[in-house]
Assembly symmetry: D2
């Protein structure tokens, strides 16, 4: 990675041991990467792994539901020595992976549950998009290898409101609504806005259904995000579904 | 309307001169009706019209984004002398029609815009559903002429996020998500939960495209809500679209 | 039914003891009705029932996959003494309910299976629509009580291709495609084109899941078709789903 | 391409100068490829191009609506000296790209128009899938680098029936129905079945809207097919949309 860019960088919000971390590592093969998570513990191992592999990364503890915090994190990170960016470096990839899980019978659902879902999925993504889109627009004018990209992690609950999932689906539907709206507003301006529907369980050390390849591999998901990023603007995908081969759908 | 029920009643939230008022008048032909709107001015004419036609109605100024206010309005109204309800009267129809319009380029959209949309569409409907569902469940046990019904007014923006509609669509998608979730949780318990996609402009004194029948008539929309309410539980519709014959879609 | 129309009539293709028969009986309360089915045995009891109830009906044995046969049936029936129609009587409602069931593992599916599905759903509906639309267009110019209507019976398989349903879904998807295309072409000309998704089992003497109201009642489905027919052109529904309250979806 | 496989091969049906040819060339970088088209003229240039680039390819003039012809083409090609395949070589990628365009006001649409659309999209794909799936199933047992894949080219008309597109959409909807059904039946058996929605014009020497990157590039589409093929079975995409950045949707 000696040739890692000084003029381009990426950001991933919602980094943990699963999808977010895998996406950060995948994009770190090409770009210095900013990692956001509420807690340092969530991204620290990934930052270390990227650095040890010869990449450049910095984590910033950030509550995405706080607009000022998101903007501040972006400014702080791009100015940091860890990323070694040029003064006019461009943001070419922004991935929003922050999430929260809520599942309750509707009459037991509390306002706080709905808050959690909407704060992360609607307000958090709103903040992240407002902070990153002006930078992505600047990259359009440059001759970047791939079109500036905004990728959003969705779920089955983004297209289907199941019993006991009112709070969870409200947030996921809202996030998909915003993503579609951005695709239609910023696509013609040259920004690739894509929504990925994760349909199935994601494999992790503590969660494995025991079926070989029977759960989504975070690395494979990350590859799909990278593929989306590499699509030329003559051929943009707006929505991609991914699921393990054994998943019922 | 001499035979207007004393044991059954309906509630409509989001009453104004358009759809909400027309729905209230339609349901008032069969049931005493509670009308909610933020301002008394929004529902007063409709309440008068219902009363003069021999129906029974009461309006309660209510901010649906305030959970306690919604519950209080329901209690106050059912106890009011205007509705003349029996002590154990049952709620058989609840219509959520509250809405707000937001349209802005995304980078000009402010948190307050997103708030407005989510407060009315997500939190407001959440409050309304939590306040009414326990009452609708009680009606299931009774032998009501039509299954207890919860109808929600949606829009094209509930299934499509267009450019400049990020805030608006976020709320409409979220409301549809909750509605679907409720349909799947409460349908098998006997409650009819339906979402109506209003696709096109609604005719009003100050808004008319000049094409004969070229805009949605509030009375025709109200008829569709009443039809949904009369469906037997062997044949529930979950989602209905309505548009004028000249509408492109 | 003394006042049954002499100037308006309806046609239902695919009449048997279930949905088709119930729809024919429902529309026969307002209009003389033409019933089509491949075999006389399929519609005979319904014709008799309509006649005994004071309505007017005629059945014509017709293979809908034969374009000439469909046109011939329409001509023969309108000229028949049974319907007592005026010379310039208008067709105001055409319902296409013909269907066929196919379910097989894909590698056991034969060309004949695919044929059956496409003949009834694609070619048959194509023939029916081509034969009836010119007549429905003529009715637009008249002052009919309800807009001329073309209603098509669909199924869950019209929006979802499940395992072992390749042949069945191919036909249902194709029929929905044609219906949508007609709605967009003929809607602005004043014809109401609607597609109904029947999602669940239909109750019949030989098919009952034993759950009270747990299967679709043909009469309730027929009521939904009638409701669609009565919508004014300021408020057309293009797609309606119906299912029993206990149905998973 | 010295290391081009002798044990694996691919097949592409519907090869012309656009998508089909580009897909064949893309897959030919890894596998010997069989090209099908009705006329030799459609695939000849692509076969030559592949061969000159060091790949191996053979074209077989085939009417996909003829089941026996499709099976025969597959047998002939795999036994041909051009591909240099081992006796037990496995089919690992099958792409169905055959299409035909129909656009007419509905009342001018003839049975032959509907035939054309259904023959290519429904019957043709049915034949192709029945001929290739048994071979793809055999490849599952082998340790192929990528899961055996069946990719189908769809269009906007596969999810939307527009005015004047009844015939075209009927075929595209039917093809999508079959694809979904196959994904649900053969996915759990390890075969990746994917449907691609081409939403926008495809650039060609005789068709260019003059906007830079304003039309779909066949090579970019081909890359997306190759990406789908390389997805591991823990992360299958079932449906992918692609469109130029300027496309309205």
């Amino acid at each position: 990675m000696a040739s890692l860019s000084k003029s381009l960088y990426a950001i991933v919000a919602g980094v943990g041991p699963g999808t977010g971390g895998a996406v950060a590592k995948r994009f770190a093969k090409a770009y210095p990467v900013i990692l956001l998570a509420r807690q340092e513990a969530s991204y620290k191992a990934t930052v270390d792994e990227i650095t040890q592999a010869g990449g450049r990364a910095i984590g910033v503890p950030t509550d995405v539901s706080d607009a000022a915090a998101v903007k501040h994190a972006l400014e702080t990170a791009t100015a940091s020595k860890e990323l070694q960016l040029d003064a006019n470096a461009k943001l070419v990839a922004a991935v929003y992976n922050a999430s929260v899980f809520v599942m309750k019978p509707f009459l037991e659902l509390e306002k706080e549950d709905l808050d959690k879902s909407l704060q992360v999925n609607a307000y958090g993504f709103f903040n992240f998009a407002q902070a990153t889109l002006p930078h992505l627009l600047k990259a359009v004018e440059s001759d970047t290898p791939h079109p500036p990209t905004l990728i959003v992690t969705g779920a089955t609950a983004a297209i289907r409101g199941s019993a006991k999932f009112a709070g969870f689906a409200a947030g996921k539907f809202a996030k998909r609504a915003i993503t579609q709206s951005l695709a239609r507003e910023f696509g013609p301006q040259g920004i690739h806005v894509a929504h990925v529907i994760i349909d199935g369980g994601i494999k992790s050390p503590r969660y494995d259904n025991g079926i070989k390849d029977g759960m989504l591999s975070p690395d494979a998901i990350a590859d799909s995000y990278w593929y989306l990023h590499t699509q030329p603007r003559s051929c943009f995908t707006q929505e991609l579904d991914v699921r393990p081969y054994v998943e019922k759908f």
